[in-house]
Amino acid sequence: MIEEDSLKRVIRKALSSGGDFAEIFIEDKDELNIKCSGGTISGITTVRIRGAGIYLLCGLKSVYVFTNDLSLTGLVSCAERASELLNESAGDLVGDTNFSLQKATNPNRFEIIPSSVGHEEKIRVIRETERAARSAGGKLRQLNVDYFDTDQKVLIFNSEGLHSEDRRITSRLRLQATVEVGSHSKYEWGDFTRPQGFEAFRTKNDYTSFAKDFIVDMEEDLKSSPVKSCAVPVIFEAGPCGTFWHETCGHQLEASAVSRNASDFAGKVGQVVASEKVTLIDDGTIPGLYGSTAIDDEGFPTQKNILIENGVLKGYLCDRLCGRRLGIPSTGSGRRQGYSYAPAPRMNNTYLDHGKDDDDEIIRSVDEGLFVKRLGGGTGGREFSIAVSEGYWIKDGKISHRLRSGFVLNGRGIDMIKKVDMVGSDLKTDSGGFCGADSGLCPVTSFQPRMRISLMSVGGEG
């Protein structure tokens, strides 16, 4: 533990040649990874991450310096480097900062700390997952099951006297398989993610059914038929199809995109930007979700942020620096993978709020169209693209046959969200995954109720 006096010294040093704000972010993280390849435990790695970043702001300018030398000498040298890089005229004499701990409770409760459980128990979970995947039938050309747990502790101190802490624990299984059906084969990966300690594996059926479904789904996908290119109504199923919102407008609602004029939503607060059926929210406080934390990585408590309400743009996701650039307060959205990244505005748990339309009627309303049950990854910006992992054709108001995955939906986000014409009443969450952007990989979720887009281009196979 670094002494408080040492931290004060580091802050003073960082601000010694100018700057109006300094922050020290300290990370101490342990990870465990167990790999099972082809039925045998093929590798186990323990990981220890330890380092600190010093963040210096001067008006709208920022400097970020990081190191994994946590000695006082290392931190002071880091602060000196930050001060040199800012290179402003001499700053005001900085007095002593008195840190005051601001407690915030992580919405995710941890019962069994991963390090308290031996490797044997974790290997048992892998074995059960492996067996479940192999029992699902299908010709498995290759199967890997990897186990991960992480225990990240963050400490934040800043020149405004803030001292804040958070502990984030996650558990994850990653399945990678190559499945063959006839002359066709495909490779796929899928994650079972939980913002929990080892209690995530208390109910065997949770992870074994995930593994079975993963293989069965690959097999069914290989037997399905390709979709032709078309423009049709598209229904996105409740739950994980929230990736649509993450990619179509979530990234563009991050204040970093807005402040560099890379967003179609820039300058449109108060204006209608989407169908009136759309109320879009990002909320880092929801218990049990992968994207929830007590505080963001600048020490602000996470909060519920309404981004679009009944089609009207209400605000952006903001960190401290972008807040300065746009003249708005932080929304508790300054996030980073760890000490080796400066904070940036990022999503936590992004969701489309429920509507009033009947879920069955949404399907019945389509004569011919696409039903998307699950989305894969994607990219966002002004133009988005998302891969469909599980899609079905709708014929005469009924779900007909499955479509071969791999096709993508793409378009311009701000145009697409104007075409939302039905939103169901049953909001379902999702287990979440990682979002990769400027400040590294952050755990997120995105979810929604069942929703219909009146017309969308589908990039098929002919």
């Binding site: 990874n33 220890r48 380092g51 190191t67 993508v408």
Partner: protein, 451 residues
């Protein structure tokens, strides 16, 4: 690097409970400046060291730390404890070379000159601003990077390589008829004075011009010119086809096809330790195996694979110096030794883009593509990649089109390469651990889905 001396001492006198051990230290220092609209807005700097430990007895165990104060003995013990649970026997073999230290030239950029970086950023910003009157904002990022890698093992291997270079990216925002557009271009170089300003102008101007006033296009089979950035984007994922690990376990669409024809005679792929078009160069991989040039596809025939020691042993061949750690789409610290390229690239041809367009006559010039990570399946080779481009008539650019998806199978794509351009483009990738590159490729027929 005093902590490394501690590890060297332990490796020299390895306790009897260990048969072999290896320590790989990756040390990075970087300074990044971001210049936007006439002023410096952001600076980042770092000095970090990562220590990867592998111990092999009957089994292999790994440990990783960034805690420089951790006792080397303790870190090795963690790895040894982990190995007790491993079931795969004698899988990992350490590098048996007994090579003493070798330091590559790292003096070029050793005294970091921030004023020169600022001046270069300013000059690039001014240059780029002139390319298009619709440009509303510009950001230039210059990263000065120093990387040093050590691999030391209990056999006496003790190698060191280092690399100093600059990565330069310019990103512009433009506004035309109320619509917003963006474009960017990237280059890496060993010296700031080598930044190719003309190339930045040319590529950013072309990128913007290929986006303006885009319309739609009918679905169909088209003759297509894939821009070098588009082919590079595809290769960012498609290089995994040539991974010896994926080939060996059947998860590459090319598994079992070594020696067979998979592409046209105009299609060749090489993995090189260095290239004149980039400041990156790789002397050793993370197992200490010397890097060498490896031809993977020669005139359309699959002739080589990328190997680390384990994958090479499995296929009874030798490592090609492709042991790496950074996997695509992995959310964890890359402690495992996998296979990664060095500078993997499609070999260029002799024709300019203009002459390839002329040769194409009628078709589509695909100028931008997005999201190849999720839209290429390495196991099946299938792809469905969102993209945009420009319709070509009589060998000339006619109109821009967007909302497209190109789809097919990678092997079909490779077999339909009619010509490769002379415009090889190389980009760094995945925490700068390797580079990927390609020239523009003229493709006989490709399914393009539009309206």
């Amino acid at each position: 690097m005093s902590f490394l001396e501690g590890y060297r001492r332990v490796l020299k006198n390895l306790p009897v409970s260990y048969s072999e051990a290896e320590v790989n230290v990756e040390r990075r220092g970087s300074t990044v400046i971001k210049h936007a609209n006439g002023e410096m807005i952001e600076t980042r700097s770092s000095e970090t060291a990562e220590i990867f430990v592998r111990v092999v007895d009957e089994k292999t165990g790994y440990a990783y730390t960034q805690d420089l104060d951790e006792e080397p003995n303790y870190v090795l013990l963690r790895a040894l404890n982990n190995s007790q649970f491993v079931e795969r026997l004698k899988n990992d073999r350490l590098n048996g070379y007994s090579v003493s230290r070798k330091v590559s030239d790292s003096s070029r950029n050793s005294d970091l000159d921030i004023p020169s970086m600022k001046a270069a950023a300013k000059k690039l910003e001014e240059t780029v601003r002139l390319v298009d009157s619709n440009i509303s904002s510009i950001a230039v990022e210059i990263c000065a990077e120093k990387q040093r890698r050590n691999v030391v093992n209990s056999y006496g291997l003790d190698v060191e390589s280092s690399m100093d270079l600059y990565s330069v990216t310019a990103t512009v925002m433009a506004e035309r008829n109320g619509e917003q557009y963006d474009a960017s271009y990237y280059e890496s170089t060993s010296r700031l004075e080598d930044i190719d300003l003309e190339k930045f102008k040319e590529r950013i101007s072309a990128s913007l011009n290929h986006q303006y006033d885009a319309g739609e296009m009918q679905t169909g089979l088209y003759t297509v010119l894939l821009d070098s950035t588009v082919v590079t984007n595809i290769m960012m994922t498609a290089w995994q086809l040539f991974s010896g690990l994926k080939y060996g376990d059947g998860s590459s669409a090319l598994s079992g096809k070594l020696g067979q024809a998979l592409g046209s005679s105009c299609f060749s792929v090489t993995d090189s330790p260095s290239h004149e078009l980039t400041g990156y160069h790789y002397e050793f991989d993370c197992e200490g195996t010397p890097s060498r040039e490896e031809r993977l596809v020669d005139g359309g025939r699959l002739v080589g694979l990328m190997h680390n020691i384990a994958s090479a042993n499995r296929l009874h061949t030798s490592s090609t110096g492709n042991a790496g750690r950074y996997a695509l789409l992995s959310g964890s610290i890359p402690t495992d030794i996998i296979i990664t390229p060095k500078i993997v690239h499609v070999e260029p041809g002799s024709k300019s883009v203009a002459s390839l367009l002329e040769e194409m006559g009628e078709g589509v010039y695909i100028t931008h593509s997005y999201d190849v990570f999720h839209s290429i399946n390495i196991g099946s080779g299938g792809f469905s990649i969102p993209c945009r481009g420009t319709v070509i008539r009589n060998g000339c650019e006619d109109c821009n089109v967007t909302g497209l998806t190109m789809s097919g199978r990678l092997t079909d794509l490779f077999s339909r390469v009619r010509a490769a351009g002379n415009d090889l483009y190389i980009e760094e990738f995945l925490r700068k651990s390797y580079c990927v590159g390609a020239p523009s490729l003229l493709i006989e027929k490709l399914q393009i889905n539009g309206k």
